[in-house]
């Protein structure tokens, strides 16, 4: 739906004769307001961006959120600590394991319980597998947004296996509630670790196909390089995190720099690296750099999963946690590295069964704010590519 804005002056055309048979025509069209969304497949959910366009040039962009607002934070103040866990699944529904983990770690910070080693390792396996699944969606649908249909089918094929693995371990395919306060819901079924190992073997081969098929494909590179550039300063100022900040050439990852669980041990063993964009195909911080970071992170996650499989121990998977949990008086903020950036939970307890405040700092919400700045000046056709490269999940921006 488009309409002409009331404020712009009427269209004017200026013709200038440059010489015999040569004319320069400066056509000024009235500004158009273009409603992008809320029901548009490239917004990856229900989000509306009000774009102002002068011909093909975007001159203003205003994201409108809230279509999926479900009062997650208010619900957190009305249900018991353990009951809130399924709600965490529903903000970033592509990375539910990571959401469960973030909330559990925040509450555990107040409880001060020790998590069994086996539970920690399985938590990391699940979080990293889910990171792969989330990046597969991000990468596949990004290709779909800009016109490459086929890679999407391949990425969803691998994601299907990942979801089947999660189905075996907890029974759900999307909203797991598997990682819970104190440890895990249950132990892995027999043969599960072997299958995860097989998944890693197959995925490494398939991953090379994505790189060859899409990431370094000339059409893809031409479509994504040198657009939507986010400078280093802008990335810091807007509080961007995750692949968005690494895509701008900033070497920052909470798993290494502020380690939680046993990520520092894995890092010290040299098992994984942090991919940081170098601006190989164009300016540093463009859309291609961000998608490169996501693709490279998938293979690093595989390495972390392998390390955990090699170092797996026997033992219990949940600490001694009562059914009706009372959390000690206190307040804690815990941020973890989600596929989209830092997921922060700030929880406040007065010693009772229900929390006083459950604040969720969603990475998508913060990463989206930068659109207001990077969309103006780009072409309307590139707008889709820029929005896709921020990889937002609307369930999390709106919570």
């Amino acid at each position: 739906m488009t309409r002409e804005t009331q404020t712009t002056p009427a269209a004017t055309t200026r013709v200038q004769r440059l010489g015999p048979g040569e004319v320069s025509v400066d056509i000024r069209t009235p500004d158009l307001e273009v409603n992008f969304g809320p029901q548009h497949p490239a917004t990856h959910g229900v989000m509306r961006i009000l774009m102002r366009a002068d011909g093909e040039l975007v001159t203003g962009a205003q994201p409108h959120l809230g279509y999926l607002h479900r009062c997650a934070e208010k619900i957190g103040e009305n249900v018991e600590w353990l009951q809130y866990l399924p709600y965490t699944d529903r903000y970033d529904y592509l990375a539910s394991m990571n959401n469960n983990l973030g909330y559990s770690l925040a509450v555990e910070a107040l409880l001060g319980v020790e998590i069994p080693r086996r539970a920690t390792l399985i938590r990391i396996i699940c979080a990293e597998l889910n990171r792969i699944g989330s990046h597969l969606v991000a990468f596949g649908t990004y290709g779909l947004d800009i016109g490459a249909f086929t890679p999407f089918l391949y990425t969803f094929r691998e994601r299907e296996w990942m979801m089947a693995l999660f189905e075996k371990i907890c029974g759900a395919r999307l909203t797991y509630s598997y990682i819970r306060i104190g440890g895990l819901f249950n132990d892995a079924p027999p043969g599960w670790f072997e299958e995860v190992g097989r998944f890693c073997d197959v995925f490494e081969q398939k991953w090379q196909e994505y790189v060859d098929l899409l990431l370094v494909n000339q059409i893809y590179v031409k479509r994504t390089a040198n657009i939507g550039i986010i400078s280093r300063e802008m990335a810091l100022d807007f509080g961007l995190t995750g692949p968005m900040v690494r895509g701008s050439g900033i070497d920052w990852d909470l798993r290494r720099d502020m380690p939680y669980m046993c990520y520092d041990e894995i890092w010290r063993s040299g098992a994984f690296k942090i991919p940081v964009a170098r601006g190989e195909m164009g300016a540093l911080g463009d859309c291609w750099d961000r998608s490169w970071v996501r693709v490279m992170e998938m293979i690093e996650s595989i390495k972390i999963v392998r390390w955990c499989l090699d170092n797996m121990v026997e033992g219990p998977v949940i600490a001694d946690i009562p059914k009706t949990l009372k959390v000690p008086v206190g307040e804690a903020y815990v941020g973890i590295e989600n596929p989209r950036g830092e997921l922060g939970h700030y929880v406040v307890s007065d010693g009772g069964k229900v929390s006083i405040r459950t604040r969720v700092r969603g990475p998508s919400f913060c990463n989206l704010a930068v659109l207001e700045d990077i969309l103006p000046g780009s072409l309307v056709g590139d707008a889709i590519a820029i929005i896709g490269s921020t990889d937002i999940v609307v369930g999390e921006t709106d919570r």
Binding site: L236, M258, V348, I356, R359
Partner: protein, 172 residues
């Protein structure tokens, strides 16, 4: 740097608005009613000087808080006299965090906007404003962000009453 080191530095450079600290503590064994407090340490800051305080935190050579990670509010109880403003700062260079807490009277919940220091706080402040009824003076774009423009009340306040109907739709 740990929290103590950051606090010492803030005192040394005379950070504007720094009122004190809120540290976690163990329960007092003599007093059975005292349950202590678990969790993080906070720097208590005067809400009206928050923006200046953040500016110092961002620019100081030894602190270098390049990012504002989160800005939110808390309504601790229905009968509480004050709201809390919670800010999380992060330094990528020195790998440390700082949690800031400001107390804001419920009778006049207003403080200067911090957008001029960190643009990250632009959307956080908008969310805070609509959910808690806090006014951020000088905010460049003070519209609602998650709620509809015509929403009445501040939903995250503890004394919020749920509406009976919205545009003719019954909510009961």
């Amino acid at each position: 740097m740990d929290f103590q080191g950051i606090h010492d530095r803030l005192v040394a450079i005379g950070a504007p608005g720094l009122l004190g600290v809120d540290l976690p503590r163990k329960p007092d064994p003599k007093n059975k009613k005292d349950k202590g407090r678990a969790g993080d340490a906070f720097a208590l800051v005067d809400a009206h000087k928050l923006a200046d305080f953040l500016e110092v935190c961002r620019d100081d050579d030894r602190l270098k808080f390049e990012q504002l990670v989160d800005l939110s509010a808390t309504d601790p109880a229905k009968d509480a006299a004050e709201l809390w403003i919670n800010v999380q700062l992060l330094s990528l260079k020195f790998r440390h965090r700082l949690a800031i807490k400001c107390l804001l009277p419920k009778s006049a919940p207003s403080l200067p906007s911090t957008v001029r220091v960190y643009r990250a706080s632009q959307w956080h402040e908008r969310e805070c404003a609509e959910m808690f009824g806090i006014t951020f003076v000088g905010h460049p774009d003070p519209r609602n962000i998650l709620l509809p423009d015509d929403w009445v009340g501040s939903p995250m306040r503890k004394d919020y009453e749920f509406p009976k109907e919205y545009h003719g739709i019954s909510c009961e």
